[in-house]
């Protein structure tokens, strides 16, 4: 009798698994509705498995078939791919495609859907992302922190957060994805700007008598010798209708460049003009130009909807720290009825990506904001339609170190929370379809994650930030003061 028990159990299990297994599917004639929408996305070969669930399907049966014939089959309540087999499949199909045959079991019936593909790019992607997780709140901050995510796995590491630092953390910035050069602002009673270079962390007070505010929106010079900032007098207001939430606007803004070696803020009248609000500085990859946005001042809040920023450029001499004597307008947005924000040149020098919206500059709260690309050689500019969503904010973006991927924030998921999307872009500036940052259980993760992915940036290696040291520096008040002056020693 005892010998028969395992046999009986085996029979029972087999019967059960047969009942739950794929059988008699009906062809739906359409592609499956999956979350996240990974249909026909272009992905790097080192990305973590793109697990997904299917709307209203109790069970899934998914087969991945690579161009090389490698097969990976999973079956369960969601498509959850084993990491090693996934990695092997992707490596074997670099430059090719993987066909995804997905069956969903809904209301007692297996449905076969039209297959879709994962396109595995030959372009490598960086080690990971660094981003801020923040409640989509308005005044207080709640728990917020800067986190690092390894793109080849689901591992997320907290770099620094309000659990440790008593103040708002913002504007983390790295030098062309290299986290060894790091800039981070902390606001609040112990506030200051943290700058780390060659593993040396220093805290600074960036407000000077000659600037209208502390330094924000940092962008590293490729040499690592300068950081461009803007000084903004910023306020926010709250809309009355449900479609819009709030508006963040400047009453004034200027641009300065911090000379790290000489502890000196540099600027020029063209960047501190009374007749224009200059913001969002970004150095060109050769370090010889500074891109920024500029708008004619308007009365706030009466003419708020008429504030439109153009995309401009001024020459910069890294040797002397001097600026050019004229400003070029690259995208004349104001007369065309739109506004430019967040210029981000690709590190290969070919393109510049920016966000457009109907007015203003804080585009993450604008449902109409879209990503656009400017070809720096021809001056042609176009909307990245395949990356943008029709009715949700697509905003803050950054390039990977090889300029073949970009990451951006989008509210297409639920209209409230910003999520990090990664998109491939080829040498001709043609983007693929973006994909949502993968998670082990994406539906559960994103339903529970009621914080926004803010300012996602690629990093080439883990961020070497010692949060205890950072907080000690700030608490002890050992902050160096930024000096303002245009005289170069």
């Amino acid at each position: 009798m005892r010998a028969r028990i395992p046999l009986l159990m085996l029979v029972l299990l087999t019967a059960l698994s047969c009942g739950r297994g794929l059988h008699d599917p009906v062809f739906s004639g359409r592609e499956p509705r999956i979350f996240p929408d990974y249909r026909d996305v272009t992905i790097p070969a080192t990305i973590a498995p793109l697990n997904f669930s299917m709307d209203q399907a109790e069970r899934l049966d998914v087969t991945l078939t690579g161009d090389d014939g490698t097969i990976l089959h999973v079956h369960g309540s969601m498509a959850r791919f084993p990491r090693k087999a996934w990695r092997k499949l992707l490596q074997a199909n670099v430059g090719g495609a993987i066909q995804v045959d997905a069956y969903g079991f809904t209301e007692g019936q297996w449905m076969q859907h039209r297959p879709f593909h994962f396109y595995v790019s030959e372009d490598a992607i960086d080690y990971g992302l660094a981003y801020r997780l923040i409640l989509p709140s308005y005044e207080g901050m709640g728990k917020l922190g800067i986190y690092e995510r390894d793109l080849s796995s689901y591992r997320q590491k907290e770099l620094i957060s309000t659990e440790e630092v008593n103040g708002c953390l913002n504007c983390h910035s790295f030098n062309q994805c290299d986290p060894k050069d790091l800039n981070l602002h902390v606001r609040g009673s112990y506030g200051g700007t943290l700058i780390q270079q060659q593993a040396q962390l220093k805290a600074f007070d960036t407000k000077t008598d000659s600037t209208i505010s502390s330094c924000v929106y940092p962008y590293w010079h490729p040499s690592g010798n300068y950081i461009a900032y803007s000084n903004n007098t910023t306020r926010q207001g709250f809309y009355q209708r449900a479609e819009n939430v709030l508006e963040v606007f400047d009453y004034a803004s200027d641009i300065v460049v911090y000379d790290i070696r000489n502890n000196r803020l540099l600027s020029c009248p063209l960047l501190k003009s009374e007749s224009a609000w200059e913001t969002f500085p970004a150095f060109s990859p050769d370090g010889k130009s500074l891109y920024f946005c500029s708008a004619a001042p308007k009365a706030i809040p009466q003419q708020m909807n008429e504030i439109r920023y153009n995309l401009c450029r001024i020459a910069f001499d890294p040797e002397s720290g001097r600026f050019g004597d004229r400003v070029d307008t690259l995208v004349l947005a104001a007369p065309a009825g739109f506004s430019v924000s967040f210029p981000r040149p690709s590190f290969d020098g070919k393109y510049l990506m920016y966000t457009v919206s109907s007015f203003g500059n804080f585009t993450i709260w604008h449902r109409d904001s879209d990503l656009c690309l400017l070809d720096l050689t021809t001056g042609a500019s176009w909307n990245l339609a395949s990356a943008n969503s029709p009715d949700a904010a697509d905003s803050y973006h950054n390039w990977s170190s090889n300029s073949r991927w970009f990451v951006f924030g989008s509210r297409r998921d639920d209209g409230t929370h910003t999520r990090a999307y990664i998109c491939h872009i080829d040498a001709d500036g043609v983007p693929g379809k973006p994909f949502l940052l993968p998670q082990r259980k994406p539906r559960e993760y994103y339903d529970n994650m009621l914080r926004s992915f803010n300012i996602p940036e690629f990093v080439t290696e883990p961020v070497p930030l010692n949060s205890h040291k950072a907080w000690r520096l700030l608490r002890r008040g050992k902050k160096e003061q930024f000096n303002y002056g245009t005289d170069i020693p």
């Binding site: 207080g140 709640g142 449900a242 939430v245 708020m304 639920d414 529970n448």
Partner: protein, 569 residues
Amino acid sequence: MIRSQRLIDLSVSLLLLVAATVYFSVWYAFHTVNLEQLQLFEGTWAYFAETVSVPGGFSDYLGRFLTQFFYHAWPGALILAGLLVLIRTLLRRVCTRKDAVIGAATFLPSILLMMVMCLRFPTVSLLTAFCLTLVAVLAVKRIRSTKIRRICTFLLIPVLYLLLGSLVVLFAAIVAIQEHNWRFSVVALLLAIACPLVASLVFPYPLGRLFYGLSYYKVHVRMPVWPWVAAVAAAAVVALAESRLLAENDRAWRAAYAAVFILAIPAVLLCSSRNDEQSLRYNSLAGKRAWNRIVTEATRRAPKTYGETACLNLALCKTGHLGGHMFEFQQDGPETLLPNENTPHHDGLSTAEIFYQLGMVNNARRYCFEALNAIPDYQKSAPVFKLLAEISLVNENFEMARKYLTTLSHTLFYRRWANERIALLKDPAGPFVLNEYTEKRYERYKGEDYIFDYNQADASIKQLLVEHPGNLTALNYLLAWYLLHKFTGDFVAACPFEAFTSAVPKAWQEGFVLDWNRSGYPADDLPEFITPSLAARFEAFTRDFNANVPLAAMQERYGDTYWFYYFFK
């Protein structure tokens, strides 16, 4: 232990259980309920994994699990009292000596912990950590072999640190005291103290918090010293039980019991705040939309702060008594009607509720997030999520509504409410079935969008009325806003006196009469909707006012009128 001592022991434990239960369920009920409102316990694996992933996470998880029952004050109070008695009982069992002096002394940590629970932001996790620490001590004590017991102690210290947090120091201290071996004691204590140091290399928390205990108090700055005073007291009691001090002293045990309980009452009262309790009562009742209970509460204990008065005004409005009774309570300007982020003592959730009831759902959402941000240990809040779900349903953002509702569906007390709405979301027409949201959808803004300006809130409320004239909450708030701003002209222009089918509310009449008088019209020509008695009272008020009657007398005679507010506030 002799029988009479056992009886005393049991009686005093029972006394503590009853006293603490009554205290936390009657006099301090909303402090207890508030603990539940500052968290959202989800019965999911992900929530468990997230909670236990930090030092002290397991005791925190147990604490949060128990806190969810604080949804009602009685079970919450019973759980708190039960844990306090359990701690005392466990400590009694840990102690080697069993005489009455030790019996009395073992109440001391529980009373100190009861003091902690009376503070503004305590956690039940502290009590669960205390209990489990003492259970661990008892478990180790049961091991007879000294060598194995000591090895187990060393092995348990890091494990207990991960499970229970810094109270592992108490575990090490008690075991060390009872081992009577200074070498072992030093090593055990050093090992316990080293745990937070090692943890600081792994977990991104300041060393101070890792030493204090991550979940022993909700606020992370200026944490109270009492939890550690209780731990030291527990260790001291164990040390006393190891000595022969005060043993078999007939007078000593009586004195010990007397001292512990005589000190207990003022100590607990010292840590309690009746003012906080009253604010929490108003906020909690407003969150539960218990309008009649708020009005009843106000007649028993008048509101004192801006936030409390704002809750009362909303309750008066929702029960149709704002115009009739608002000046019977102290009003301190428009912020007692519509608080903003700078209003002292305002609560995010009740402010959100006010805006929600007005139909200003975007402002309601804003204050919901403010309420979330105000939770000191960054947890989610079930009542806030409930209101956010409702706001999302009104705004037809069904994807967000589904997310909030799904989270609530993982809870014990909000599950049913959430599941009913989730079921509706599955049908495209479902979300439009519930009248409460359909009504709010009509009441919210539909016209041209603009930025809200608190100083011109009347313009926003007026816009609501233009788009939906049937919004009585908005109408009452507009009229009250004008009166509290002392804009009587605007008040008279906005008030539809002729539309009232019954008597015009008292405050509205008072506002009209005052404006009539200040405009120089004769009192004899007052319209019919002004009752003769009110007109006569105004005449008397004018006479007394002109005669410079002292303020106290004016307050006594006219403190319930708008006129008194107008001239003296």
